[in-house]
Amino acid sequence: MSNSTTEQKYEPGKHPSMPPPFKTRGIMLWLRENLFSSPTNIVLSLLAIYFLYKVLPGVLDWTLFDAAFVGEDRNACKAKAGGACWAFIGERLRLFTYGFYPEAERWRVNLAFLMLVLSCIVLLWENCPLRKPLMGFVALFPFAAAFLLVGGNGVKLLVALACIAVVLMLVYKGFSSLFVMIIAITAAVLAKIIFFGGFQLPFSDLQIQGLVDLDQYDQLNLKKVSTDLFGGFMLTLIIGVTGIAFSLPIGILLALGRQSNLPIVKYACVVFIEFIRGVPLITLLFVASTMLSYFLPPGTTFNLLIRVLIMVTLFASAYMAEVVRGGLQAVHRGQSEAADALGLKYWPSMRLIVLPQALKISIPAIVNTFIGLYKDSTLVIVIGLLDPLGIGRASLADTKWNGLTNEVYLFVAIFFFISCYAMARYSLYLENKLHTGHKR
């Protein structure tokens, strides 16, 4: 095909840069290229359009146009319209959000949620103004949130926060980690003895008395709320955020441990990973709720929620370890060799060279694990914690509203979809941002 009339010829080396062919502009062109480019494509597109035409109106009618948004009970809803009865969800919205958290204390949950949103912004948005000082806030957030949600003595919390802040500052100043660790442990033990009352040394009758009774300072006390009352989306977020925050670092350590040259470390990690992966999460949750108290010394009571958090985190960590291991193996051996040759020791070489690349490769799989963990949090229903599905099931038992299964599950599904889709989008954004080669 030669139409030399339109295509000018150039001397070798004189060909100017030209814009790419005019191909991907205009709606019609886009349609032709993407929907109707081949016979198969045309058939599939037409089928899809027909399917949407048949299904979409019904779905929209049920969810929106014929739906009732107000009403006293099921019958009032159905009398009004034939669609969904969102009035039910409206009435139960607070229950779905807070579980049975006491009405008067719910501001604490809201405040904790606000802090979570702020922490996420600081962590995830790299150009956030004042990011460095705000990172301190993020580090203290878990403690503050736990205090807000559970309640208790505020002075103790402040003391604990101060200790942590001091340790963080020491680390930031660049003291050797061993030194900081010794200081931290000493400070923790001293703080425990001085402020938090005494404790009994293990395996002996020696009792150490506390010096200051903090309970007399009750201005800062928040009313204690039993974790049995936690429920709904709040519970999902607590389990999800805790699991996500801890499973990644634990998973990284397990993955590194599995590659270690030290046989004890290596096999401990292998056994842990394989055991946890080989057992269903539900079994672990049952173990958490009943068996653990047999294994632990008599008298030690562990809050059920904390046991669940530990189990969910460990479960996700085992998966995370394998995901990270895959990433580690994908990093070329030459990378750690170059780091070795430059004189970097093991930890700096891992932290600065190998892990950033391994984690970047594993982003899709890591987020996949996060999403799985987040959704698995609904399994806590089997040991009696009231996650959104549990609340939904309880609500369905209400005779005033019975039979509204679709509304409840659709509502819960939308909540999960929004959070999981947000995670998926963020992971895509992150992959793009970390891409440092030639952009396609």
């Binding site: 070329h332 070795d340 430059l342 004189g343 970097l344 020791k345 700096p348 600065l352």
Partner: protein, 260 residues
């Protein structure tokens, strides 16, 4: 060290004491005996080219010098430090020995400048500003200061290898090891890397270079070492080595590579 008086190299320069001493070194990969009775003395300021057919153990030998590979028998002493299982010694040696790899092994997630400042900051504990100034100095020497803020993936192979050389130089090493630095390059980029290496050699850097670039060997080497099947077969000044090779194996090798 028993060698106190200065030696004179093939090119007439004064050479210092031994920087690297390898004595009766052997290495096995499992059952396979890769390196057999290697003896090598490298004086400070000396430039050594190692050549030989592939699989002859050249790379393995120089990788033993900074302990990327472990030797099982014999001694390797670098800059007065003996390489043993002691991590302290290994780290001390690696701080003083720079290495340039066949496939560059730049860190793709860091900019060129960050590649160069990483080790000075984390190993030598230099302040960032100082490390960056040094890095820019060496990037200028390898003639790519304008690429400092790009990522390695955006550079050509020749540029990447020059960055890798600059990255090693930023640690001010006493010895530079080159492991086939031009083998992965397109022909037109080989020269720009060799030019940098020749310049480095002329400034008196102690170098051990595994390469098939015989032109480079003739120009700068004080000694050429020929290896085959894990042994050092022949060791001579470049002129003698190329014009009057002693062993039959060397003659065969030279006739094969110089025929092209």
């Amino acid at each position: 060290m028993n060698n106190t008086e200065n030696n004179i190299s093939a090119t007439g320069r004064a050479l210092g004491d031994s920087t690297i001493e390898i004595r009766e070194m052997h290495k096995w990969y499992g059952e396979f005996h890769v390196l057999r009775d290697i003896n090598l003395d490298v004086k400070s300021g000396e430039r050594i080219v190692v050549c030989g057919p592939s699989g002859s153990g050249k790379s393995t030998m120089i990788r033993c010098i900074n302990r990327l590979e472990e030797h099982q028998k014999g001694d390797i002493i670098v800059d007065g430090v003996e390489l043993t299982n002691d991590l302290k010694n290994i780290e001390a040696v690696r701080r003083e020995v720079g290495m340039v790899f066949q496939h560059f092994n730049l860190f793709p997630h860091l900019t060129v400048l960050e590649n160069c400042t990483l080790a000075p900051i984390w190993v030598r504990k230099q302040p960032k500003a100082e490390a960056e100034a040094t890095a820019m100095k060496y990037l200028e020497r390898v003639k790519i200061p304008d690429q400092a803020l790009k990522y390695p993936g955006q550079l050509s192979g020749g540029q990447q290898q020059r960055v890798a050389i600059a990255r090693s130089l930023c640690m001010s090493p006493k010895v530079m090891l080159f492991d086939e630095p031009t083998s992965a390059l397109d022909p037109e980029m080989i020269k720009e890397v060799l030019d940098v290496m020749i310049e480095l050699a002329e400034e008196g850097m102690t170098m051990i270079c595994v390469t098939h670039e015989m032109g480079f060997a003739k120009t700068v080497a004080d000694r050429v070492i020929f290896m085959d099947e894990g042994q050092i077969i022949e060791e001579n000044e470049p002129e003698q080595f190329f014009n009057n090779p002693q062993s039959e194996r060397t003659q065969l090798f030279l006739s094969q590579i110089l025929a092209h």
